[in-house]
């Protein structure tokens, strides 16, 4: 019983991380129709830049080292995302295949540059004392506090994103852009600028995921591909461009992964893809996607 509760909690905390990363991916796709294959690279960029800021501060025992790393990571990812849209993708708007190929190229270059610059040693953030250690959870017992915080961060991100999309002017523009870019432009909105803003926002979300993820798991080369794949699966299962859909997809994938690992470790990866295949067969637009 308590094992089942632990696995459930593990699945949810993992889902929280997946949601944070995939929501950025979904947001970018929703408005820009860009399948950003360099999304995983943004995760790595945030992680490595954040760590470069974090480590010297941590050595001096400053309590805000982790938060500084978080800020730096988010900023680095957001700037990279905005630059990518401004310099590379902006002038091939609407050519989805070409954009996807360009982002694949970016991801390969970024991974090699990061490897050359930071080396292959795995790194890991240490959460601030306030959220380190373990907390007593009913049924489960001692549970890593940081993983619980992860759920909190995901909820904040989810609610914030929902409010941004549904209650602000920028959100209104983004939603209008999803439906009809030309009409939005005709209304006097600077659509390319909105595009850059959305890209930066999506990348920043991935940046949060990069720091949070690298606190819970090691940060190393190869994580980019892993998180890109997870984002793709989550978004395909949940439905492209829907915040709630992304959350549902993340929970399904996170739980499936943990359950699979407990029951049949070797084949746990397959379970994730079984879910994806089932969704694609029965509801190709995703569980909460619009047809």
């Amino acid at each position: 019983m308590d094992l089942a509760a632990t696995i459930l909690l593990n699945g949810l905390t993992l889902a929280a991380l997946y949601f944070i990363v995939a929501s950025g991916f979904s947001l970018i796709f929703g408005l820009m129709r860009v399948v950003n294959m360099a999304h995983g690279s943004l995760y790595l960029i945030a992680g490595y830049v954040g760590y470069a800021v974090f480590e010297p501060l941590y050595d001096q025992d400053l309590w805000w080292a982790w938060y500084a790393g978080l800020g730096a990571g988010i900023a680095a990812a957001a700037v990279s995302g905005a630059l990518m849209q401004k310099l590379l993708l902006g002038w091939m708007q609407g050519q989805e295949l070409r954009q996807a190929l360009v982002t694949i190229g970016v991801s390969i270059i970024a991974a090699d540059q990061l490897l050359a610059f930071y080396g292959g040693t795995p790194r890991q953030f240490f959460a601030p004392d306030a959220i380190f250690g373990s907390t007593q959870v009913p049924l489960v017992g001692g549970y890593p506090t940081f993983r619980l915080v992860q759920i909190g961060i995901a909820v904040v991100v989810g609610v914030g994103l929902w409010l941004l999309l549904n209650r602000t002017k920028l959100g209104m523009m983004i939603r209008a852009g999803v439906d009809d870019r030309e009409m939005l432009g005709a209304c006097g909105v600077n659509v390319p600028l909105v595009g850059v803003a959305v890209f930066a926002l999506g990348a920043a979300l991935c940046g949060i995921g990069g720091i949070v993820g690298s606190t819970a798991q090691p940060l190393a080369m190869g994580q980019d591909g892993r998180f890109l794949l997870i984002s793709l699966v989550v978004v395909i299962v949940g439905g492209m461009g829907s915040v709630t859909g992304t959350a549902v997809g993340a929970v399904l994938v996170g739980l499936a992964e943990q359950l699979g690992q407990a029951l049949f470790p070797t084949y746990s990866v397959i379970l994730t893809f079984v879910i994806m295949v089932a969704v694609l067969a029965l509801r190709p637009q995703g569980i909460l996607g619009r047809a």
């Binding site: 094992l3 795995p122 890593p144 798991q217 190393a220 080369m221 190869g222 690992q261 407990a262 470790p265």
Partner: protein, 427 residues
Amino acid sequence: MTLRMSRRTALLGGAGLATAAGGLATPAIAQRAPIRLGGLTTLEGPFATGGQDAYRCVQMELERINSTVGGRRIEFIRESSNAQADVALARARKLIEQDNVDIILGPLSGAEGIALRDYSRTLTGRTIVNGSSGAADTTLRNPSPNFFRFSTDGTQWMAGLGNHVFRNMNIREVAVAAGDYAFPYAQVFGFNIEYCRAGGRVQHYWAPLGTTDFSAQIAQINRSNAGAIVVVHGGTDGLAFMTQYAQSGGNKPLIAGSIMADQTMLSARGPHRRVMVGMISAGPIADVIDDPTWREFVERYRRRWLNEGGFQSPSIHGVNYTTNLYGILHALREVDGDLSNNQQAFQRALANARITAPTGAAVRLDHNRQAISDIFLNRIEERDGRAQVVAFARAQQINQTLGTPEAQFLALGAPSRDNPGCVPAAS
């Protein structure tokens, strides 16, 4: 026009002369043409750190001999894979077919080794010498005449550990958490052969290479009756397991596979270091070995690399690549750099080589071209303010079947997740 003609003639004549001169010089150049040595290791993926260190050690040893052996220069060509067999194979093909190398030194991990062993069988006049890959079957079953391994395998590395856990630590049941691929199979097999024969009971927890979230397995292990955990993960997987074990508040004694108790792991920062102090492991190296050859090697390594991103002490992969490089250099010296006649003389010299590994251990090859050498039992201790792997026992000249007659050992079957080597004493 005449002038132009004559100029052209002059040019032609000059070219002809140059060709003639070149023709005359050719044999001399061929004699001194560099030996092309292709390096294959993992600079990407979960073992990137180990791969990087492997090249550090190889570079250091080549610099020491001024990249010259038997009167010929060695040209070292670096290639990288990501610990996946198909990638390693593609890169090895590139080394052979495009870079035209004579010898490959590599690869780093288990499944890659088996892939390259199979590839080496299709080659004529080329030789593959292992890097650090340690799957038992690479040389034990269906060996290739073109594949040599001067480093010991994953099963050999566990020699003595099972008995130590059962007899000296008095632990009757363990949980084995291991990667689900060729190398951990070999390590688990080596541990279980001794431990189960002594009467111990084992529960296995397998996870595919590249797993970074072990929390479900750790929760199960912490609730089990196991008296200790045997962790046979490596690279980032191992780091993730140890970190999450520390975060889960686990307090069972830890026993480790050979690539777990290593500088690649100890030099990464994090809570895993706390639980790793006191950990027992076995393997072909330790940070602290009471042997002058080793102390000299470590000293040289630190002088060369400590300021350039190197570890406090060379990693297991670095030492394995060095041991195999020593084998190559020894054979090249024996044949005076002569690789003619499809490398026959060179391969004979490899097979008969007697070398000393950087650890000071004597190395020779068996009839499958597999190393017979020393294995160390280690404990992680806090020394000079940092965690170090300290050898406290040394098993001399361990062969690939751990002393069991070969036929009997082969009858146990190939190590796999369904055949982890747990044979009770009765059989």
